[in-house]
Symmetry: C2
Amino acid sequence: MHLHYIRIMKTLSELKDELELSPVQTMLLANTGSMTVLLEALFGPVSVQTESQKILDADSETARVLEISEGETVNRRIVRLVAGERVLVHATSVAPLSRLNPEFKEDIMKRDIPIGRIMEAHRIESRREILGYDWQTAKARFAEIFSKPAGSIVLKRNYNIIHNKQPLINILEVFPYEMAK
Amino acid sequence: MHLHYIRIMKTLSELKDELELSPVQTMLLANTGSMTVLLEALFGPVSVQTESQKILDADSETARVLEISEGETVNRRIVRLVAGERVLVHATSVAPLSRLNPEFKEDIMKRDIPIGRIMEAHRIESRREILGYDWQTAKARFAEIFSKPAGSIVLKRNYNIIHNKQPLINILEVFPYEMAK
């Protein structure tokens, strides 16, 4: 089973060659801090709507990216980051259960809290390693999620949050090009 | 001796009440990741020009912010972050010598490297805690540094980089309002 879409390996400058990016779009993509903090600075209070949350076995691709063994259990959470009625970002996070401490696990599995805010609450020290970027024309489902016409552009980025020298979470973010044009 | 100007304790929303801030200015101020990464995304390659670098004894205010004892030795580095000919940011960093490992100390004391890039090179896990914001009309020296008319506005923020649950570095950044209007 394919847990995650991680084959997005363009660099930011390759993306810039293919698409015209505004300063705000560029900053959202390049950011190595909390995405929630930047979204709240731009759009006001951000909340999480959880679309699904499941315990799954890592496929080979997920295992590679998270530096775990194939078949190890991971928590996959799919959420929407929302400001008011507006869906800003669609985010899929995958985390090896063995690396989550009990409080973090509780927050990520049972509560609608953005990951940046969970990390802040637990004062977790980390660094973000960006794995790649991509864009595509939105399929019907994404167009509907973002209330955009089908075929409009979405931007994507994938990164690992590293903690204790190991990937703690892999995150795939998708957001509409128009959000920050 | 007063090492540092840390009495800037406005919140971002207080700053927004006093000044009209663009989305890009707001993001630069709110950012909890590497400042260098965002500046490079906006302006291209960023280099450091070191204005001064000294070992000093912490005064009471510096000791309070860094959670050390008064009189402990700190490294104070004052730099300009520059893209091409343009000075983007004036930054003062103060770090307790006892908390810098030998490689970090070497990079910060002897080389012109932005702190974000030093942290990345040494894969240092951290979190950034923003202490406050402020703005002022630039005095003659700052106006000259940024090649702006005297009296033009500069934005300021102060934050700690926390590593191993202790402040590793306190950074005061000053940049011209016009940089990202």
